[in-house]
């Protein structure tokens, strides 16, 4: 199995991340819970704050932390620990409150000190409930650990996000199944531990000292590994290197690979790849911090998501605006455009377009009330998706189907629908013999792709401009679609597709 080694490594990363977060959360939450059990005000405040904290979306929290903590293990550990705190805290308080009052009174009356009472009576009696909280936290954490992939901290989430990015459902399963198995396995192990620790045991369970030693060794290995990778992250960076990033979809992987392979071939810089990062905001923050140096971005995305401008259809040239704002506000430079725009569009079969003689959305609106359309849930909901588009063009479809991105093309191929909402660079457009209709009223902003680089990095390695320039203006709409097709449909890896491309056009 080709993914065997990777699976092993990712699983290990996953366990290490989840395990150390649980360990950290326990060492914080159990003492805090003990304090809370004795101080009613603290208990009330922290339990309320804690329950609110659980409602913060983990990805949002992660994006929030990147400016302070950068990419990788540190912010991931912080987020995971943060989410594990509350269940452990709550169960610690509940466990201590469940200790029978007559036991507490007897402990006091026998002359045990506060600490002795806690250690010899209250904690052992509360332990089964505390453990059940740790168990809940562990199961949840193993699930949430998949977000580590969004900021390049590894784990099984890598498979899931890559699978989603590359439209590869077996990759998704390769991440999701072990995650579920891990969660179940840990849950079982902890439930056994819970039984062992439960004072209501009738007969003592076999929990040999060998098992205890193995357990101890496993925890130590785990901690050492996390400590090691943390310190590597903080202290180790090769001297002459450049970090290239990509977001988590095919085209980004390909563009980043093209740049990476050119730089590797033409300079002596070491290229560090931090691909498949979560969101535009995360990548942008990492760029600002200097955790990454270079990545491909789109003008429309930069304009609306990073600069938070709203799109005005009369706007002709947002590239200049974006370029100036990035340089002045962020000291980031937009290099040359690759030569294509990855925008939203409606696509129909080539034959359909010819039969009905339509090339633009305005023409489509004439006959839209006879037509069925399919789109992804996202496109259907967003105001800058189909609803806005329909308004702008007076589109009024007979039937609107909500379909997953994988099934869009199947739907139109089997003539379940006449029109689908797609991205203009989608590799499958060619494969399914579809054409996109022109956005003649400029409803969508242009999404021209170009590398964004930190100004200081370009100053340090000015040759980069020269090295990347063969790509500028060279990757047409057709070329990028072809590349996407190679990966999405023909199942080449982005690196292979990029390499073939560079060889084919003699760019190396």
């Amino acid at each position: 199995m080709e993914h065997g080694a990777a699976l092993q490594q990712k699983t290990f990363e996953h366990i290490a991340l989840a395990g150390s977060s649980i360990f950290l959360a326990s060492t914080i939450a159990i003492p805090l819970g003990i304090m809370m059990a004795h101080v009613p005000l603290l208990r009330k405040v922290l339990l309320n704050v804690g329950s609110i904290s659980q409602t913060i979306p983990s990805l949002a929290l992660l994006a929030f932390l990147v400016p302070f903590l950068g990419l990788g293990n540190t912010p991931t550990l912080v987020v995971l620990t943060f989410y594990a705190l509350y269940p452990i805290l709550r169960s610690t308080v509940a466990g201590l409150q469940s200790v029978p009052p007559e036991c507490k009174e007897a402990a006091e009356g026998l002359g045990l000190s506060h600490f002795q009472k806690l250690w010899f009576v209250e904690l052992p009696l509360a332990l089964p409930i505390i453990m059940s909280g740790v168990r809940v936290a562990t199961a949840a954490t193993i699930g949430i650990t998949t977000i580590a992939a969004f900021i390049g901290a590894g784990g099984l989430g890598d498979f899931i996000t890559q699978g989603l990015a590359l439209n590869n459902s077996s990759l998704i399963l390769l991440g999701a199944l072990p995650t579920a198995l891990l969660a179940l396995g840990f849950d079982y192990a902890l439930s056994q531990l819970e039984i062992y620790l439960n004072y209501r045991k009738e007969t003592s369970l076999p929990f040999s000292s060998l098992k205890k030693i193995l357990f101890g060794i496993a925890s130590i290995i785990l901690l050492v590994w996390v400590g090691h990778s943390l310190s590597k992250e903080i202290f180790f960076k090769p001297s002459k290197s450049i970090v290239i990033a990509s977001k988590n979809f095919t085209e980004q992987h390909i563009l980043a690979e093209l740049m990476a392979q050119l730089i590797e071939a033409k300079t002596d810089l070491t290229v560090i790849r931090k691909f498949n990062l979560g969101t535009t905001v995360i990548v942008h923050q990492a760029l600002l911090r200097g955790d990454i140096d270079l990545y491909p971005e789109y003008t429309g995305t930069a304009y609306m998501i990073v600069l938070k401008e709203s799109w005005n259809t009369k706007e002709k040239d947002i590239l200049e605006k974006v370029r100036n704002s990035y340089k002045n506000k962020f000291n980031l430079l937009w290099l040359g455009l690759f030569g294509f725009s990855n925008s939203q569009a409606l696509a129909v079969k080539k034959k359909f377009a010819e039969d009905h003689r339509i090339t633009s959305l305005s023409e489509l609106s004439q006959i839209s009330d006879h037509l069925k359309i399919a789109a992804q849930p996202d496109t259907l909901k967003r105001e800058d998706g189909l609803p806005g588009l329909s308004n702008a063009y007076g589109l009024n479809f007979k039937n609107i189907m909500q379909v997953d991105s994988n099934l869009l093309f199947t739907a139109i191929a089997h003539e379940k629908v006449d029109v689908i909402a797609v991205s203009t660079t989608d590799g499958k457009l060619q494969a399914f013999d579809l054409v996109t209709l022109e956005d003649d009223k400029n409803f969508y902003p242009p999404y021209q792709a170009a590398p964004v680089i930190r100004e200081v990095v370009l100053k340090t390695y000015p040759e980069l401009h020269q090295v990347l320039s063969p790509l500028f203006g060279f990757i047409s709409q057709q070329k990028i679609s072809k590349l996407n097709y190679e990966v999405d449909v023909k199942c080449f890896s982005p690196a292979e597709a990029a390499h073939k491309f560079l060889l084919e056009f003699n760019l190396l």
């Binding site: 029978p100 007559e102 036991c103 009174e105 007897a106 402990a107 006091e108 009356g109 026998l110 002359g111 045990l112 000190s113 002795q116 010899f120 009576v121 052992p124 009696l125 004072y199 209501r200 045991k201 009738e202």
Partner: protein
């Protein structure tokens, strides 16, 4: 030294927060070294409260308690509880996560007594309580009957060889035969080891059998304190008189 005061209560009152009626209402009382003082009285009359104040599980609202002539607060509270008093709790309060043996020896363990000493002590005490050490020593508390639990509770209180025992209805759940045997053991403890014992019971015949003096409590007051002869022949209040009569009937 006979008739030497070991414990002295001076105008003790105890108000529980939120209760209008006092739990203990201006009680003064001397306890002699080596005597068994039995407290009887209706439910809620303040017997447990009185014991708890001696052990400092509750603090009196007003008044003073002297132990060997010195204010109780001048002693280290945990040393007092471990070394001076042994307490049999009304609610027993055995620790369910420990075996019978571990329950009995807990204070000895915390005092770092050697294991051989502890083993021996536990065996002695279990024998003393009519529980076979081999059968019961390693059982958990939920594997014991109510009466067995009570006896383990007594054994735990005896483990530290304290001078003074506070026993709050220690034999309530026992059958008549075992109870009688254990009462004899208590009397022997007094005779041989000169222990001072404050003993709470609802059973008047038990009070008569054990008590050098008997205190009758009602509504936080000690209605009358004296030997059983004094109480029977000269009851001060109708309540005492009625109590004595019902006592004789059983």
């Amino acid at each position: 030294m006979k008739n030497q005061k070991i414990i002295e209560l001076i105008n003790i009152s105890k108000f529980y927060p939120g209760n209008e009626k006092p739990g203990i209402n201006n009680v003064s009382l001397n306890i002699q070294r080596g005597e068994i003082l039995v407290l009887v009285g209706s439910s809620g009359s303040g017997k447990t409260t009185l014991l708890k104040m001696l052990n400092r599980l509750e603090e009196p609202t007003s008044g003073a308690i002297l132990i060997n002539g010195k204010d109780i607060k001048s002693y280290n509270v945990n040393e007092l509880r471990r070394g001076f008093f042994g307490y049999v709790f009304q609610k027993i309060g055995l620790f369910p996560h420990m075996t019978v043996k571990e329950n009995i020896e807990i204070v000895l363990r915390l005092d770092n007594k050697p294991i051989i000493f502890r083993e021996k002590k536990v065996r002695e005490l279990l024998d003393f309580m009519r529980l076979s050490p081999n059968v019961y020593g390693n059982r958990y508390i939920n594997q014991l009957s109510g009466g067995e639990q009570q006896r383990v509770g007594v054994a735990r209180a005896l483990a530290t060889d304290s001078e003074c025992l506070l026993m709050d209805e220690p034999f309530g759940a026992l059958d008549a035969v075992t109870r009688c045997e254990l009462q004899d053991e208590i009397l022997r403890l007094k005779e041989n080891l000169k222990k001072t014992i404050i003993f709470v019971t609802h059973d008047i015949s038990e009070a008569f059998k054990l008590g050098d003096r008997i205190g009758v409590m009602q509504n936080g007051n000690i209605e009358q304190l004296g030997t059983k002869e004094q109480l029977c022949e000269f009851p001060k209040t109708p309540f005492v008189e009625q109590l004595m009569r019902t006592g004789f009937r059983t």
